[in-house]
Amino acid sequence: MTKYMKYVDVTKCDGCRACMVACKNWNDLPADPQDFQGSVQSHPKVSADTWNVMQYIEHENGKGDLEYLFRHSACFHCTDAACEKVCPENAISYTKYGTVVIDHDKCVGCGYCVQNCPFEVISLKEYVDKNGDKYRKSQKCTMCTDRLEEGLQPACVTTCHTGSLEFGEETAMLKKAEQRVQEIKGRFPNAQVYNPQGVGGTHTIYVLAEKPSVYGLPENPKVPTSAVVWKDYAQPIGKMMLGATTMALVGAFVTNNIISRKNKDQDGGQGHE
């Protein structure tokens, strides 16, 4: 099965925000008006109604020069996705394209995924049903999996006019990223491919001009240790323990009855006070 990736070369981005508009348009996401952020950036980060946000970062490089850095930010679609691990309803799953998607019929809005995503890209959205009752669902970028299924590319990629965003076969995208880093090393000595292995690699990879932390990204993101302890150990051991206790008590009940019956047959029962 061919694996795919979204490739983001931040050094080619001109910050036009067409990717944000295309995403809103295709996914039918409502406007999400914000207060002035202190820069040209429209939203502080991705949200339930804004699945990708263009970051604008004023960064002073080592030489004392100011760099104006842009980054198209959205869900990374991790290979080992913490959100998928902690979801109690199995509402989050991997698709054959490697994307990570939320089944809104199964989602109960608990927010476990929101709290465990190492990149903090998942948000809860509140809805009101026809009876006026409120309910919540998790929301994030789907990498336009519905478009992929139709042989199309993600909306943000299709609309990108600088070639900053591409979608393609995994090995080709990784190779492209490595080559691009070599090309820009002269201007950006800290340039690197961001495809963190702590989450098994991601299906959105970046060519970053600077260290990840400059973009507010974790340097070594991973599935939280707490999520591993919780889902791989605490929960199964807890279930086993309940089973073991119950079995021991069923055993106690049975032996009690057998022994007291035997005693009754022999001498009318054991004295007890």
Binding site: V108, S226, K239, L249, E273
Partner: protein, 234 residues
């Protein structure tokens, strides 16, 4: 049963505040358990509609969470003496407590056993109390981080999920044993009426908590069952 020849005298084992605190604690525990069950395992997803959907289950879970916290306050306000005595019992461990367990296992499975003299709480009850208190602290503390994640550091919220899971996983395993012993196991069954009414048969209390019973007799609070008056009745 062998209690047919015992004098029909009842003594007060638990103050009313404890009876209420225990009942509230028990009801809240099971309500919390059932409202969380569909989140714990998908096998119980059918419970969502029963509670009015995930939102209803969440609301009920929070209501019972608040109720679950109240028993400690009830005891502290209405029966602080009992609370102090309880804590004292929990931190006092002697040889007799260790000796209790061998006989307890025999008794649990119905084999011949003898009573090791115990104080107000026997060693098994002390272990139950310690585990339940430990689990309650875990689920209550982690419950706050889960309920109000916006006020806590992210790492604390993430570890909160684990501690909540461990707390109630261990809690329910202990509770199954606790309920079995009080409701089903024939020798400790008077304990059930004891925790509901606060009173237990004197002969049973003397048998199970000899040191406590004798002490209360000395203080003139309980009847001396060795008194010929009671022997005659028997």
């Amino acid at each position: 049963m062998s209690n047919q020849n015992k004098p029909d005298v009842k003594i007060r084992r638990f103050p009313k505040a404890f009876v209420w605190a225990h009942a509230i604690n028990g009801i809240a525990f099971f309500a919390l358990y059932f409202t969380a069950l569909p989140m714990y395992t998908e096998f119980f997803d059918w419970l969502y509609p029963v509670f009015g959907g995930p939102e209803g289950a969440r609301l009920l879970h929070r209501i019972f969470a608040v109720i679950f916290i109240t028993p400690t306050l009830i005891l502290a306000i209405f029966s602080p003496k009992f609370l102090v005595m309880w804590i004292k019992e929990l931190i006092t461990w002697k040889k007799r407590d260790i000796a209790f367990f061998g006989n307890f296992v025999k008794e649990l499975f119905g084999f011949k056993f003898c009573h090791v003299k115990q104080t107000f709480f026997n060693a098994g009850e002390k272990i139950n109390s310690i585990l339940q208190m430990f689990c309650a602290i875990l689920v209550i503390a982690s419950g706050f981080t889960m309920w109000l994640p916006q006020f806590f550091p992210r790492a604390l919220v993430q570890w909160g999920y684990v501690l909540h899971n461990i707390g109630f996983g261990l809690g329910i395993a202990v509770i199954v044993g606790h309920v079995y012993l009080s409701v089903i196991h024939k020798h400790s069954r008077p304990g059930w009426s004891g925790v509901v009414t606060g009173k237990v048969p004197a002969w049973w209390a003397k048998g199970h908590y000899a040191d406590w019973y004798d002490e209360e007799v000395k203080q003139g609070n309980f009847p001396d069952l060795d008194d010929p008056k009671f022997k005659k009745e028997a």
